[in-house]
């Protein structure tokens, strides 16, 4: 008998007291969200709590804000994933941008692929050494979570492969107000399982030495976030 059968048989033997038609209730009376108002402000506050650098900008100021951040950082080579809106890099010299071609299909294009498990490998494909040689990476984000100060990347356009936001030491991330939700449950509703997801709450950190929090271990040591405000309602 295979170990698969052995384990499954052991499980079934262990559960002889459980009726096979049992309906075991799960109480779901917890809150879908803990805040309703001031979600964007809370998002910024919680990002800062975990030592992210946060700026709030209008759409029209975004290209300048990105260019200023790159200059302030002194970054000469910034990785730019495929699908990044061209306007974002309008203020950067062409030589500053280090493009990577890999892209996952957009979330809303589920017509021919229900699991949306359709990444599109494309050149150029940066090597780990090339990523290590870059000074930073510029990406968008799929979701922001206010209650926890979290940014979620789902490998969609403008976010790229997971390695892109891992190896460079500085991550400049643009989060649009309409992508920010209040809570973890709301975030999971928006995300598509099956895609590689990275949840980021501040820069990498450790508390392994006497429970003293130290920011910046193996991931990017600096996380800088540009929150793009909603355009004013006319």
């Amino acid at each position: 008998m295979s170990s698969r059968e052995v384990i499954l048989n052991r499980v079934r033997r262990a559960l002889t007291d459980v009726p096979r038609d049992e309906v075991f209730p799960v109480p779901r009376d917890y809150a879908r969200a803990h805040v309703v108002e001031g979600v964007l402000e809370l998002f910024a506050e919680h990002l800062r709590d975990y030592r992210a650098v946060v700026h709030e900008v209008a759409e029209s100021e975004l290209a300048d804000a990105i260019a200023e951040a790159v200059v302030r950082r002194g970054a000469r080579r910034v990785v730019t994933p495929a699908g990044l809106p061209p306007a974002w890099t309008a203020g950067l010299a062409a030589a500053t941008c280090v493009p990577d071609g890999w892209v996952y299909g957009p979330i809303d294009d589920l017509s021919d692929d229900p699991t949306n498990n359709r990444p599109k490998p494309a050149a150029p494909h940066l090597t780990i050494a090339e990523l290590d040689a870059a000074d930073g990476v510029l990406t968008g984000a799929a979701v922001g979570i206010a209650e926890t100060g979290t940014i979620v990347l789902d490998a969609g356009p403008g976010q790229g492969r997971r390695a892109l936001t891992l190896v460079p030491d500085w991550h400049l991330c643009v989060v649009r107000a309409e992508h920010v939700v209040a809570s973890v449950p709301q975030a999971l509703e928006r995300l598509v399982p099956g895609r590689p997801l990275t949840w980021i709450s501040g820069p990498s950190a450790t508390s392994d030495i006497e429970l003293d929090r130290v920011e910046g271990v193996h991931g990017p040591r600096t996380l800088e976030v540009l929150i793009v405000r909603r355009p004013p309602v006319v």
Binding site: P119, A155, S201, P203, I209, G216, V217
Partner: protein
Amino acid sequence: MSKAVPPTGATFVGMPPFPRAARDAVGDAQLRHNLRKATHTIRDKRAVVVDELADWAELRAAGAAIKDRTLRRLDEHLLAVEAAVTSAGGTVHWAADAAEANRIVADLVRATGETEVVKVKSMVTQEIGLNEALAAEGIRAYETDLAELIVQLGEDLPSHILVPAIHRNRAEIREIFVREMGEWGVPAPAGLTDEPAALAEAARRHLRERFLSAKVAVSGANFVVAETGTLVVVESEGNGRMCLTLPETLISVVGIEKVVPTWADLEVFLQLLPRSSTGERMNPYTSMWTGVTPGDGPQDFHLVLLDNGRTDVLADRTGRQALRCIRCSACLNVCPVYERTGGHAYGSVYPGPIGAILVPQLGGVATGKVDAQTASLPYASSLCGACYEVCPVAIDIPEVLVHLREQVVEGGGHRAEKAAMRAAEWVLDDPGRLRRVQRLAARSRKLIPKRAPGPGAAWTDSRSIPAVPAESFRDWWVRERSGPADTAQAGVRPTGSAPAAAVVEARESEGEGR
């Protein structure tokens, strides 16, 4: 310092039973200082972020119920995991015990032609002794979590689920880095101070090249979503992301109890776990992956589903709630016993209150199979209940501890105790017998030693044998209150006491013939 010994099951070989190990630990002032500072820091942080969520009780109830519902249909959920992971391009392996899991991992690593693997911090690979098993096959496993690195470089044993080097202070860690890093790879920088930031920077430099060149990684997982085949790893440092993203091959060893049925179930656990564990609203990094994604991350993914005693736990209707555990370690940080002894005294991979119920069950305490060290773990508690209060999945640890104590006693591990209890029952059951034993004890009281002889000596290590009075209460009562009896000195006789004394005597007489 204890030398690392590969575990068999979930306990470390050759560790003394808890009471002896605990006595040594509480005598170590530095250790007690480190532990007190660390456990109090983290329990205070937890309390603050748990208080932020007004519906914590509802989340906790949902978390417990989701786990229970899953466990009660575990076979179906495991088959769903297998189907989903396979269709997403992963390969699923089943391991009935530690030896089989180690064999599977070693064979997979060998098939890649590599002799080194990088590891994400994982309790389950410690439980099965994977590093030692790989070493025996000529494969070197490098721990990449900072605390696990400290433990590995120091040839030490982990002492906490979340912060395995909690027993070390900064000066000790600096010393280990300076002494050992060069032996394993990039040495510690010259002039390394004991500032935590400097030590973390040394770890970054030490591991950087290893991450960027690693071909094979081994991880565990915090959750596996059955309906999607998604694995979830929560972490802080980014070493997890490095291991899960950069290598070509990823092998994840996961206990069968880690399954949650649906994607939406994560909304409960991703709120419960970080707040209970590190006391953060969210841990810095959480990685979720489903099988293989072309062009992103490892292109060869293997999931090893591990039993190793979990089905024995599942079979115990009281004890199975231990399988709800999400390894947050909140119970360690509030435990008055853990705070004073630290994790090493438990002699097991899973220390603290959760370890005291999980380790004996994984080892088969219900069938009387466990050694003296494992059998001592259910007694490593004052049953104060603080662990239950903070448990995010409401495991009633005191209830299971008492249940396991019954099993230990029934299991024949405590023959002397049982004999003593039977003798006590024989004496106490019969008033006449009790009176004669008490008088015998009173007459020979000068002969009773301060320390108990033989196996009873341990009891008197921290206690004195109570002084035996010159006269038993019963004899005193009869003498003082009922006039002339055994002794002639009748004192003042309060009214109404004679009937009471008569009752005592009458009962003792009735008892005589039994």
